[in-house]
Symmetry: C2
Subunit: 373 residues, 2 copies
């Protein structure tokens, strides 16, 4: 059996490792010859994620298609699915998720708690904003990624900050914590849910570190897991999903975003859980039974973001590993760019505060730096 992956980044690489471990073959479509997953692929197709012809070529040599990025040619995937090709998660889901308004409407209909929101087309933004009330969050319907396409409008003086695009206006949620849950679901509807994790962001809205399990009351954790399962069931999703949520200051849990693939917030599962998110995804999309998502030991994860440009050099590895429970993952990307995800570190410890302490030290030690070339 061959798994065709659209996108050859670190998520595809870690999927490919698990696929090969299970004796399955891997084909990868990626524009870059030296993509992280390329070295692990039995077949490589060079091309864009938006190139329908290349995606079709990938489908023809694969038994099941998946992807490590949402920004792919959904139309071709839909055609392929209609022709009987296996595509997981379904392109139907991608289509829903790619439009933030449709995503929220679908989830609201399914009974998933979401922040209050309203549709606002490009030509009626100001009017709708005044009507909706301040403060509010504008999210453009399409093209947003890692905080792009999102702006906070605190009052009517900030209306000039509105982005000129078809949007959704959302309630400004006073956030106590940002949390996430990974959910795996197989073709028969069986579900495995991972623990709730807590994401801590820095001032630039970049993930500072992730804590597993989240320090929230048990009943809130249970509620978050139930919401995450509801989301994936409402989508009739097959594969692994990262469900990001807000825990608001007034105690509500509200859906924020859905990632229909392995997710940064699930990297801790490699060391800390019985079955990693990557193995779980491979099992789910190939019709194999899911594994246990049990957490064996608490963990804190942070991303190693690139510094400078050029060929990567890892700095501080030896000192970083001198702390207990430190596990380093370097993705093997050929070039560094500032803030590019070059790797991640998971620190495990029975005492979560101890793990956090170590993370704060190790974050200052380990770097992936460009050689300036």
């Amino acid at each position: 059996m061959i798994i065709g992956i659209i996108g050859g980044g670190q998520l595809a690489k870690m999927m490919a490792q698990e696929a090969r471990k299970l004796g399955l073959g891997v084909a990868v479509l990626d524009p870059q010859e030296e993509c992280p997953a390329c070295g692990l692929a039995d077949y490589r197709i060079a091309g864009s994620f938006m190139d329908g012809e290349k995606i079709r070529k990938l489908a023809e040599i694969s038994d099941v298609l998946t992807y490590d990025i949402e920004h792919v040619d959904v139309e071709t995937l839909k055609e392929l699915e209609e022709e009987g090709y296996q595509v997981h998660p379904s392109p139907r889901i991608l289509q829903i998720i790619q439009d933030k308004l449709v995503q929220m409407e679908t989830m609201k209909r399914a009974g998933v708690p979401v922040p209050k929101f309203v549709k606002a087309d490009k030509d009626e933004l100001e009017e709708k904003a005044r009507e909706f009330g301040f403060p509010l969050v504008q999210k453009t319907r399409r093209g947003g990624y890692d905080g792009k396409g999102v702006v906070i409008i605190r009052d009517e003086h900030e209306l000039t900050k509105l982005l000129p695009a078809d949007s959704m206006l959302q309630e400004f949620v006073r956030i106590e914590k940002e949390i996430a849950v990974m959910v795996a679901r197989d073709q028969y509807g069986n579900v495995e849910v991972y623990p709730v994790v807590e994401m801590v962001f820095n001032e630039a809205n970049i993930l500072d570190f992730l804590v597993a399990p989240a320090k929230i009351p048990d009943e809130k954790a249970k509620e978050a897991q139930e919401i995450a399962i509801k989301v994936v069931e409402a989508l009739d999703g097959v594969g692994i999903f990262g469900i990001e949520m807000f825990l608001s200051e007034d105690g509500r849990i509200l859906l924020n975003e859905i990632a229909p693939r392995p997710h940064n917030s699930g990297h801790y599962t490699i060391e800390a859980c019985l079955t990693s998110q990557f193995e779980q995804h491979i099992r789910a999309i190939t019709g194999l039974p899911l594994g246990s998502s049990e957490l064996l030991i608490p963990a804190v994860m942070f991303n190693i973001l690139g510094k400078g440009y050029g060929k990567p050099r890892v700095v501080g590895l030896k000192e970083a590993l001198s702390y207990p429970g430190v596990y380093v993952h370097i993705y093997g990307k050929p070039l560094v760019r500032p803030l590019r995800k070059m790797g991640h570190v998971t620190v495990v410890n029975r005492n979560l505060d101890k793990a956090l302490e170590i993370v704060h030290k190790v974050k200052e030690i380990i770097k992936v730096v460009g050689d300036g070339s």
Copy 2:
């Protein structure tokens, strides 16, 4: 930094994965183009493990040399070490281990408990055997592997079974259990010791399954771990070592064999321990700090041995994974041969008896079968 591995089998493959995860490069020397580790190597050299010229070529492109098999050209490795190349574990250790008599003599001198033994050259075997007394075990000094070169002589009527080779005659130990301990040691003398595991063999003397941790009293486990550390310290070893021992019916723990590399009896560490034997080996030989060897969850491991000849086909994967805690590793060897190690399965469970129960079922289900080509 490039790690040069002599041998590209499954052990090299799993080493290479860990090396790459840490951002290190990998070069592999193996006669087969499609060796399991070859796909993960940055550099590949085609050649025999006994080909000194090829080993030298590997050394020239590597920062440190290691191996996944003991039957390598030790003379060349010794020359390279003298010239200042890093080779871990040292070829000095290989030389000791390749001669079973020298291995036992060295260990006895170091105060490691070993079975009673005596040197017996080819031309004095019968005489020495009568002198030593029955029953005894003859082990040829060289070339023995996986039970080859070993014969049990129960009484003088069986003297005709003696193998015509320079040998060591050893006390026939009445074995209660065969146990093993993995020990990692770095260049600074720091040691990490793994739990004692128990190996259960079938009638053909092939490993049936391995239980971690061994069901033996705590004080015996501690004694076995101390012996294993003593062995590695006596060798001044750097890297990971598999130390096989007997627990005799009369309660003695005696050294059986030393493997100066990751070992089949340490595969369970991938799922069950914080740091796998492979990551530990890579850390040790590259001067990085060792990780924790803590066991997170009990495990039982068995090998998937090939059935028939030809291209491999994995049978029963889906049914095998339907049992809880089952993790399957297929090595990606291009061809099946009867009894060839094609993969392994680790079953984890908080209840070791439950894990054993599952192993007995899954062993009958999952197979790697040749297609007859």
